[in-house]
């Protein structure tokens, strides 16, 4: 240990130590001269050896190499700028992708103790839902010792603020929401358990910062003001802070205490109904308790709950916990998509590195003299190799800096485009910095090692390296092109293909009857009246009922085994006019009769799975308890599963008991704009307590598609950049190859060989790498598209047209890249070439 300190002291006081040594030796020389001995020896060598004893020579050499590297790079600014640019793109894209992933999945929320937050959902081997009944939340909260707190979040349709036309998004939360998160108030106060925990407290509302700015212009006097939400009076008690971090990335305009839910939504039994899953549950693990331990305790509690309410809990139900302390609660499919994106960005880096490797190789020729001289005066090859590696590292670090800058810009743009929560910034955190450094190191190895080895060994045959570089570039570009092509086609599919139902002129009208406590008979009466009134509105062509409206808030999904294959089924409950309203074609049989029981209508793809080659109409569904009769087959309509190409649908006739859950669907002709206002006024006359949520399907559909569109265009752009990079790289390599052998080509032509033949033989070395690159690229792309399918629809595994197109384009680029420099060679002035040394 002491030795290390001594060495460090030397490092700090180097000059002084050196001077002291010099004075010692000076003195020694004087004394020796006096005694008549004048041969002191090689001072310089002595000093060098003395310095070596302190063990910092490696540092000296490194600094020397860095200085030298900087000089070399400065001497050829064109090359340096090109190289840094290429690296900046390659590294920058990876940094951007990682930054976004970091924000979504790795960065902890800026709340109190984010690591102990968990999201709790009901699961069973066959069922899955993201919400649970509020009484269950209370039950778990009371009895679970492994959770120090539970929170519930209930999203509701937008509420009308005073007399505004536009509604404000609203969420009900348990009063400990803000206190658990430790959120400071932006203004006024936030909800807390003492003042907002019971229905007897005065109703309070908390505004979001954004809503406060938009609606009230940031006027601080709104705190304490009484406003009306859906005609109910409530006091504004405070504003959330500007950089508010909420659970699950939601950002509603208004926060209301959940105890007040029945006050705002009259007749609601959400808080007491044990049978309906309405709220989202979050929890905080008790100190020292792991998520696994909590899940075990919850499982036992769920069993207890089943004993108390056997009808409301599924068989083998358990509560699953996912880490809740990040922006997004990650599902396994998301990790797959993230992995795929990572692979793509790394591929781009590979193209950039291969590109750069080629540039370095070409430059090596111009440095042969310099290196030859150094070897001649005694530098050993290891030293030269180390110095070249240092140069590569230097380039890589410059590229990393530029890449960080590029990544910062990209992330800033992305955050603005995606309307991200305000607490996210584009500033890189330590994870991003470490990642950037690691990527820079990896690329330095990748693009620097091979050429450095070649140069240091002074081998003339650089063919192998060149071939590898070309092959790698071709393979990486192939994957990128194919994937980009697939994504573009998926976008087209998304925009122009029929999802199976007519969304253009249809709107859903959700009166939330169950939430307002309507009994089935009253609901039936209300819905009948509403539908009749709607039908008499000019412009309304067709009206019907459905329980789970298209692109609605709730989705029901089951998986089942049919003939050994797993099938995903989306069940729904409808009235007979549904297919006509939604323009879903009836392919076989008929729709339901009014009041029909124990019947079922299936979608075409389900029929094909369950009864291949037969006519399903008239058969009975034997795997359901009541064995319903199949009365019809309809076309596939992904009303609740736009992304799932394998989805199948089953439709059941809505029974009287289902009425409070039903949603009205209305198809209009002509301009749909005035209809919502008419619907509102009809609803007011029927029951002023209700505030139906009216959603035009077209806007929802385009919304869901636009996200995909944006992503696809970004990926296509990236793919294009990568391919261009590869093209430029290949041009460079081929030009270099040709220029190396100009003399040989000239001689062969002069001796009578056909120009084309000579060129073919020169370029022959590249046929294998290109072929292997294309095959490898297609293979990798095939694997990637499997994962892509989960995230996008319209992407098929083996889309021969897409693959062929991509490979064709790539071969064209490669061919062009090869021929352009070759053309110059073909027009050689033989005499001049042979004469020129």
């Amino acid at each position: 240990m002491g030795e290390l300190f001594r060495r460090i002291r030397y490092l700090i006081n180097r000059r002084r130590f050196d001077r002291e040594l010099e004075s010692d030796m000076e003195f020694h020389r004087e004394m020796a001269a006096r005694a008549g001995r004048s041969n002191f020896g090689n001072t310089l060598r002595m000093r060098e050896q003395s310095r070596e004893a302190w063990g910092w020579t490696w540092l000296d050499r490194l600094i020397q190499d860095l200085r030298y590297g900087v000089r070399i790079l400065a001497r050829s600014p064109g090359f340096t700028i090109m190289a840094v640019l290429v690296l900046a793109i390659g590294i920058g894209i990876n940094v951007s992708a990682f930054s976004l992933f970091d924000m979504v999945a790795l960065k902890p929320l800026p709340v109190r103790d984010p690591d102990s937050l968990v999201r709790l959902e009901r699961r069973s081997p066959t069922n899955y839902t993201s919400e649970m009944p509020y009484p269950s939340v209370l039950f778990y909260g009371e009895h679970a010792k492994s959770l120090s707190a539970v929170m519930a979040v209930l999203g509701v349709p937008g509420m009308q603020v005073d007399d505004d036309v536009q509604t404000a998004s609203t969420t009900f939360v348990t009063p400990n929401y803000f206190t658990e998160l430790g959120t400071p108030a932006g203004l006024g106060r936030l909800l807390d358990p003492e003042r907002d925990g019971s229905v007897s407290n005065a109703p309070a509302v908390v505004l979001s910062w954004g809503f406060w700015q938009r609606r009230y212009g940031g006027d601080p006097s709104v705190v304490g003001r009484v406003i009306h939400l859906n005609k109910k009076s409530v006091t504004i008690v405070g504003i959330t802070p500007y950089a508010f971090a909420s659970l699950g990335g939601q950002h509603p305009d208004l926060f209301l205490p959940i105890a007040q839910q029945p006050y705002f939504i009259e007749g609601s039994n959400v808080l007491t109904g044990a049978g309906s899953s309405d709220v989202r549950m979050w929890g905080r693990l008790a100190p020292g308790v792991s998520a696994k331990a909590a899940e075990q305790e919850l499982r036992a509690l769920t069993n207890e709950l089943r004993r108390q309410h056997p009808k409301d809990i599924w068989d083998n139900e358990y509560i699953q916990s996912s880490p809740g302390g990040h922006l997004q609660v990650m599902q396994p499919e998301m990790y797959q998509v993230a992995a795929m994106v990572a692979t793509l960005t790394l591929l781009i880096l590979a193209v950039a590195c291969a590109n750069l490797g080629g540039l370095l190789l070409a430059r090596a020729v111009t440095r042969e003299r310099e290196i030859g001289i150094r070897v001649a005066i005694g530098a050993n090859r290891a030293r030269i190799f180390r110095q070249l590696c240092t140069e590569s590292l230097l380039l890589a670090m410059l590229g990393a800096l530029a890449g960080l800058g590029l990544g910062y810009v990209v992330v800033r743009v992305a955050l603005a485009q995606l309307d991200a929560p305000k607490w996210l910034t584009a500033d890189p955190d330590w994870r991003v910095l470490v990642f950037t450094f690691a990527v820079a190191l990896a690329s330095a190895i990748f693009f620097g090692l091979a050429p450095a080895l070649q140069i240091a060994r002074q081998r003339q045959r650089k063919t192998m390296v060149r071939q590898i570089l070309v092959g790698a570039q071709v393979a990486a570009s192939c994957v990128l092109l194919i994937v980009a092509g697939l994504l573009v086609r998926a976008t087209q599919h998304a925009l122009y293909t029929d999802p199976g139902f007519g969304y253009q002129q249809v709107m859903s009208i959700d009166s939330q009857l169950r939430q307002h406590g309507y009994a089935p008979a009253a609901a039936r009466a209300y819905l009948d009246q509403l539908q009749n009134r709607l039908r008499s509105v000019p412009g309304v062509k067709s009206v019907s009922l459905v329980m789970l409206p298209p692109m609605g808030h709730a989705v029901d999904r089951e998986t089942s085994e049919i003939n050994g294959r797993t099938v995903t089924i989306y069940p729904n409950w409808i009235d007979p006019g549904f297919f006509e309203t939604m323009r879903i074609p009836i392919l076989l049989g008929r729709t339901f009769y009014p009041g029909e029981k124990n019947a079922i209508i299936v979608s075409q793809s389900f029929a094909r799975q369950q009864w291949p080659g037969q006519n399903p109409v008239g058969q009975r569904m034997t795997d359901q308890d009541t064995k319903p009769l199949v009365v019809g087959v309809v076309g596939d309509a992904r009303i609740n599963a736009l992304n799932d190409d394998d989805a199948t649908e089953q439709y059941f006739p809505a029974q009287p008991d289902d009425m409070p859950e039903m949603v009205v669907m209305a198809r209009t002709a002509g301009d749909p704009a005035p209809v919502p206002a008419i619907v509102k006024s009809i609803s007011e006359t029927l029951d002023p307590r209700l505030f139906p949520e009216i959603r035009p399907l077209q806007a929802l559909y385009l919304d869901s598609v636009s996200g995909i569109e944006k992503a696809a265009s970004v990926v296509s752009l990236i793919g294009l950049v990568a391919v261009l990079l590869a093209g430029v790289g290949i041009i460079g390599l081929v030009a270099f190859t040709v220029s190396q052998r100009t003399k040989e080509i000239a001689i062969r032509i002069a001796l009578g060989a056909k120009r084309a033949q000579v060129l073919a033989s020169v370029l022959h070395q590249f046929t294998w790498p290109v072929a292997i690159g294309l095959i490898a690229g297609a293979g990798i792309a095939g694997a990637a598209s499997k994962v892509l399918r989960k995230a996008l629809y319209g992407v098929s595994n083996f889309d021969p047209a897409g693959y062929a197109l991509a490979i064709g384009v790539l071969m064209a680029i490669v061919g062009l890249a090869a021929l352009l420099p070759a053309r110059r060679a073909l027009r050689l002035d033989l005499a001049k070439t042979l004469h020129y040394e």
Binding site: R6, D24, M25, G41, M46, S50, A53, W54
Partner: protein, 118 residues
């Protein structure tokens, strides 16, 4: 390679065994602190001029001993009234000297045993 002081009228001296110099320096410093030239002189004289210390070896060795902490260097005035650094043995150095001496004795004994029996 630095040249040794070989006056023309003397026979070439036998070289010093390579690992011996640190030990010799430590021993020489045991009795008093000396500057570099004095160390070389001492060794030369005490060995009856058989062993000469090459300067090219002396100073690097001294540096290594400084690194290892066996000696420290302090400024003092030489006999010629010149400021120069004197090297002094440290407690660590004394310990190391004892170890080196016992090692050397063992090895020398072993070699002599072999040579005698042969």
């Amino acid at each position: 390679m630095p040249m040794t002081n070989t006056p023309k009228d003397e026979m070439p001296k036998p070289g010093m065994p390579s690992g011996a110099l640190p030990m010799l320096i430590l021993r020489v410093l045991q009795s008093s602190s000396l500057h570099g030239y004095a160390i070389a002189q001492r060794i030369h004289i005490l060995s009856s001029e058989v062993l000469g210390v090459e300067e090219g070896l002396l100073y690097p060795t001294l540096q290594k001993m400084l690194v290892k902490g066996w000696v420290t260097a302090e400024w003092g005035i030489s006999e010629t009234n010149r400021k120069v650094r004197f090297y002094r043995l440290t407690p660590d150095g004394r310990k190391h000297l004892k170890a080196e001496l016992s090692d050397y004795d063992r090895v020398t004994q072993a070699i002599q045993d072999i040579l005698r029996t042969a």
